[in-house]
């Protein structure tokens, strides 16, 4: 059972596909859950504390805005832990403020730098593309081996 990083990391479709074919999806919900279930200082809504931008220094330089470093404290450990990745390239809804946009660029850059199996896709826009989309993901995940 491989740990598969998904981008967009909130994607319902990718999260479901990875779990459906027997692997573990690494999504932002897992990182957020870890924080909101850990005792500490009250920092609503996501329990992101001033410690997170410090942790983010591992993946982004000190002159990078704290918003990017704070986000990287969530995604960085998952990128390090992942054994494969699926990236959707036309996920417009992943676009957000500059913090989100720059973090997204850094996430895809770090994933592409890593020497792991990667699958790049577009969202399907028709039923025919849907078949190819699902087949590509199924093939990719079967190739990782060790599915549950």
């Amino acid at each position: 059972m491989a740990k598969v990083f998904i981008y967009p990391s909130t994607s319902l479709i990718l999260s479901d596909m990875v779990a459906r074919y027997g692997h573990t999806p690494l999504s932002s919900a897992v990182a957020i859950r870890e924080r909101i279930q850990t005792a500490g200082f009250e920092s609503p809504p996501l329990q992101i504390t001033p410690e997170e931008p410090k942790k983010g220094l591992k993946w982004a330089a000190v002159e990078v805005p704290s918003g990017v470093r704070g986000r990287m404290a969530l995604y960085g450990p998952m990128i390090e832990a992942c054994e494969a990745a699926i990236i959707i390239n036309d996920a417009d809804f992943a676009f957000g403020c500059m913090g989100c946009a720059r973090t997204n660029e850094l996430i895809t850059f770090l994933v592409r730098q890593k020497n792991i199996p990667k699958l790049d896709l577009f969202y399907p826009k028709s039923e025919e593309e849907g078949v190819r989309f699902v087949a590509a993901i199924k093939r990719f995940l079967a190739g990782l081996g060790g599915s549950k």
Binding site: P8, T10, S11, L12, I13, S15, D16, M17, A19, P25, S27, S28, A29, V30, A31, I32, R33, R35, I36, Q37, T38, A39, G40, F41, E42, S43, P44, P45, L46, Q47, N89, D90, D92, F93, A94, D120, L121, F122, Y123, P124, K125, S126, E127, E129, G130, V131, R132, F133, V134, A135, A136, K138, R139, A142
Partner: protein, 152 residues
């Protein structure tokens, strides 16, 4: 700064999204209540939110997925159901994160179709989708559309 004492530590929360002509969220909720052994189940407009111990939630979603495997989609959620930091009852407007799910709901019918077709077909015999990293040449018909759309 005040101390933060987390609730429901060790539990997991999952969304169960239904996109089916045969199964409604209410049907799925009734089935979930029948087989639940202590998990918290909340019915929503798009499906269910289930919170409980990981083994119990895994068992429940495996059962629920079998109701209509090609049209039920599941993903993790960070917050428990009804959490005041995320629930739209407290915030007003859509829940943060709903827009992403709403967008993917428009694509899910194509994915469901793909899952149905792949039940009877070998995935290795199906052509690969378009590679986003490949250099794409501008199609002549698209170029013509751009020229035609240009205001004179």
């Amino acid at each position: 700064m005040t101390d933060y004492i987390p609730a429901r530590v060790g539990s997991v929360t999952k969304y169960v999204v239904v996109e089916s002509f045969d199964v409604t969220p209410a049907d799925l909720a009734a089935r979930a209540y029948e087989i639940s052994q202590g998990a918290m189940i909340k019915e929503t407009c798009f499906g269910l939110v289930i919170n409980g111990q990981p083994e119990e939630v895994d068992r429940l979603i495996a059962e629920l997925r079998s109701v209509d495997p090609d049209h039920i989609f599941i993903k993790d959620r960070g917050f428990p159901p009804g959490d005041s930091r995320r629930c739209r009852a407290n915030l007003g407007g859509a829940r943060p994160g709903y827009h992403g799910m709403e967008y993917e709901m428009t694509i899910i019918p194509y994915v469901s179709h793909g899952l149905e077709i792949l039940k009877d077909n070998d995935e290795n015999k199906i052509a690969a989708p378009e590679n986003p990293l490949a250099h794409r040449v501008l199609d002549i018909s698209r170029l013509k559309k751009i020229i035609d759309a240009e205001e004179s």
